[in-house]
Symmetry: C2
């Protein structure tokens, strides 16, 4: 716009000089006055900040990363700048997904992959992120527009598609497999998939993709009455997958008959969705940057401000073939995992002796103990913690085998680690 | 801008028609081409949605309130549209206050009063809300710019001032007293004050103002290491005020010696601040629209995903004179309060019989029971729930009397209500 205005100004100047008829000077002057006003107006159009090469910890007002790098100096995170190496895929750019994308962008994540097929509507304005002037744009385009302005350092890839269609699922899979951002990375091309969709079919598609790719992911959801939500960590083979059992949701205490009246659209609140997005991205940061305790399942009942936690073992009778394969691999890999854990433990025990004060994250181990997370089998419905209920899927329920009691749990790896640590210390 | 471009086009048209020298037609055509391109460019500048007269519950994409009005249809909120009658003051438009303001704006709050003296910096970009193109603007101006675009129905008042100065405090007080938005309202001109400041002095100023004005407020805070936070409800005379005891904060488990190294700025995360803002505004909605259980104190330890709750009685030895006056009034007003509660209970018992299914919020009463909130005296430090510690104020500590055991608790009003309800039902 600036160049256009300048060209026009120059044209008017040369026109004025070539004028033989002096009566035309007045109109040209008036045009130049218009142009001046336009130039001033155009200056209110957003200006982007430039990219930065390294994340600086310098405490100056102009440093967008000073408050994040402070986490490292305070001993919370060992190496904050590693965040630039990570790729996170977000499926569903609605009330939770868009806020999760903004949080990760502001945290300086390396690369974000965004998936949605929907358009922005005025009816979305009761949640954070999208603006009324973006109505009519695809959610992916609108998100890229906003996120690029906020942090040009983040590599953004957007996919305007529906992952529950055959074509959409294929593109989804190949985008997750693409390793061009980090060619030496093990596994898929992304470090984590966040599911922020609002329906069962899309969650099952994410589950299928992640089981096939051995991809760790986190699921999130908000209830139709807008007052409860949850996040869940899913590691193929190690935890229950989304098909291992009917999904767990937080009971709101509201009668379902009230909720399911005809012609009623789902309610939503920026508060509940903001909290769920915040808990989801906090869990993501803890998972990627290895600090604190990564929650396997965390519920949010906003009417009571109650936050149930638990973890679920996989179902050996799961209907998902890829899940069963991952479960088998997980059991076979146990000796190697134990040996690696022991070696890491020994190396870290040495480090702890040298730098006793928060030199690493070793203290986390005891944290898990204090939280007292309830572990249940994927299908033993009577063992659920208070405030959690199973949501019966409304589709393909007949494909599930009847619920059975889970097999006896395999040896708890954490217990193993603790015993090894005790042996090392004695 | 649109008007300016149209005027210019008309001027060029009349110029072209008055031209006697045909050699000048070319340059004028070129100018019109420039203008056409400018008009196209200007269309990417944000367009605001128009104000709406009533909140509609109609389920159409173009209705910004459909998902909020659905709360009413689902029986969560009795009368959602009442939100347009409320005024909320937010002190501190930083990482928590700005997000709280955006959430309330998107919820369609009637009127927002915003207070801050600071300017937007690139160093704030690791939290939600402000954009890089707003760097250099005051936080209040930048907030108004963004919020007006999001929801033109909200009445915004902004105050660029520091409430800890004499002049700033006076303006703060008179703005809270101003009742022009809702002349028939009892008490002050606002329904709730949200404290989203980052220092002890500013919290004490809010506390002083609210104690003097008998104004209910909510306090919020995020730790310097960015991994924990809290919200607290303060009702002058009824609950502990901010001066009744050293402030309660959530223990992060991080050694203070690591945290307080010299030259280290406070860390912050969009996640922790987003969660605290979400919990704060959720509590605000529950308080204003009378649904669910309003939390007296809710902590957030993000490393463990642990959320301690409790409530604090006022300190009869509080150093704040206005607090002591409010405590006295609260005790004197008990018989009137009990009578009013009894009358309300009787009226509602009748309503419940007529509309048994979620016709009102009566079921909330049992919710309080289930939450099992620990109640402690403001100064009995040994009675704190797990995970909470007292933060010693770094200023005016000597003004506090030495901690004493609180007086025996006055009769619990909720217990009273429950007994009355049982008597009515028997």
């Amino acid at each position: 716009m600036e160049a256009e205005l300048k060209d026009m100004w120059n044209d008017l100047e040369s026109m004025k000089q070539s004028l033989t008829d002096p009566s035309l000077r007045g109109p040209v002057d008036k045009l130049q006055l218009h142009l001046e006003r336009l130039t001033n107006l155009s200056k209110s159009v957003p200006v982007r900040r430039s990219k930065v090469k390294d994340m600086s910890a310098e405490v100056v007002d102009s440093n967008p990363y000073s408050r994040l790098m402070a986490l490292q100096r305070m001993g919370i995170v060992e190496n904050y700048e590693r965040i630039r190496e990570f790729s996170v895929a977000i499926v569903g750019i609605g009330g939770v997904g868009s806020v999760a994308a903004e949080m990760l962008t502001r945290c300086g994540i390396g690369r974000l992959l965004l998936y949605d097929y929907d358009k922005v509507e005025l009816a979305n304005m009761n949640r954070l992120f999208f603006r009324p002037d973006q109505v009519g744009m695809t959610k992916t385009d609108a998100a890229v527009q906003t996120l690029e302005d906020i942090n040009p350092d983040v590599v953004l890839e957007s996919y305007t598609l529906n992952i529950t269609t055959v074509q959409g699922f294929e593109t989804f899979m190949s985008s997750l497999r693409n390793k061009s951002f980090s060619p030496t990375k093990e596994g898929s091309g992304v470090d984590l998939v966040l599911s922020c969709v609002d329906n069962y079919e899309a969650r099952m598609a994410v589950n299928q993709a992640c089981n096939e790719l051995k991809q760790t992911w986190m699921e999130s959801g908000v209830s139709e009455d807008a007052v409860s939500g949850h996040i869940q960590l899913l590691i193929p083979g190690e935890t229950a997958c989304f098909a291992c059992a009917p999904p767990l949701v937080v009971a709101s205490g509201i009668d379902e008959r009230t909720l399911k009246r005809e012609g009623v659209c789902a309610a939503s609140l920026p508060t509940t969705m903001g909290v769920v997005a915040g808990l989801l991205v906090q869990n993501t940061l803890k998972f990627l940057l290895k600090f604190g305790h990564v929650s396997p399942y965390l519920g949010y009942n906003s009417l009571k401000d109650y936050f149930p936690t638990m973890e679920m073992r996989p179902n050996p009778q799961c209907s998902n073939v890829a899940c069963l394969e991952r479960q088998k691999e997980f059991i076979i890999a146990k000796p190697a995992r134990d040996a690696a854990a022991k070696a890491k433990m020994e190396a870290e025990a040495l480090t702890v002796e040298e730098f006793p004060l928060h030199a690493d994250n070793e203290w986390n181990i005891s944290v898990v103990d204090e939280v007292e997370i309830e572990t249940v089998g994927a299908t033993s419905s009577d063992a659920l913690p208070e405030g959690l209920v199973r949501e019966l899927p409304n589709a393909d329920e007949s494909q599930h085998p009847p619920p059975v009691e889970p097999a006896a749990p395999s040896l708890d790896d954490l217990e193993d680690l603790r015993r090894q640590l005790e042996a090392l210390n004695s």
